[in-house]
Amino acid sequence: MARPVRPLPVFLNLLRIRFPVGAIASIAHRVAGVLLFLALPPLALGLDASLRSEAGFEAMRDLLSSPWRALVGLILVWAAAHHLLAGIRHLLMDVGIGGGLAQARASARAVLVVAVLLALVFAAGWLT
């Protein structure tokens, strides 16, 4: 039998794979991390502006006034909340807490839900 000329196919269609809740929490952790990385330069510039002058401070505080910026803010609050909570989950696992499958599933679900809730609470705070 002749050796196949073309490379062998690989099945890796992520849409056809049923991911456990831990995997969802994990990829969200990663996406949130990238968003927070992207937020670092604006954060450093914001620190500068807020210290530079009274007007700069006010501008930073009123940053969320337009709906567009509020949306960015909402996403960043979610990212920070999810990344922090998922990070604490991993740190606890490092010291031997919650590494069992049942607990890990429960904590992954909790992180996913609580992060979204926190973002919504913040959003409600801005709107009132």
Binding site: G33, L47, D48, L51, E58, L84
Partner: protein, 114 residues
Amino acid sequence: MRLFSGQRAWLVQRVSALLILLLLLVGGVLLLFGPALDHARWHALATGVHVAPLIVLFFAALSAHAWVGMRDIVLDYIQPRALRLAVLSAIAVVLFAVMVRVLLTLAAHFATSL
């Protein structure tokens, strides 16, 4: 530890995470308790001898943490050598610039407040 020890990066990630958590708690306490935050209070607080170094430490921890995390993402998804190097360099430049910006900002206000 060897050059390609994975443990160092893993440790940096964990230690910086703990530092970030701790400093967020400290920051939260400082900002939430006390009078309403206006520019004068914020300026006094952020450029004070106690808090300014903590802000620098916070950004240093953020940068270290972001470096390990972004590097992991690059190692996973970007395989071509040249592209990998380019993206890693870009990430390093951004983080370096953030650190320089924060240091310059605080140094300027620190100098005037002395």
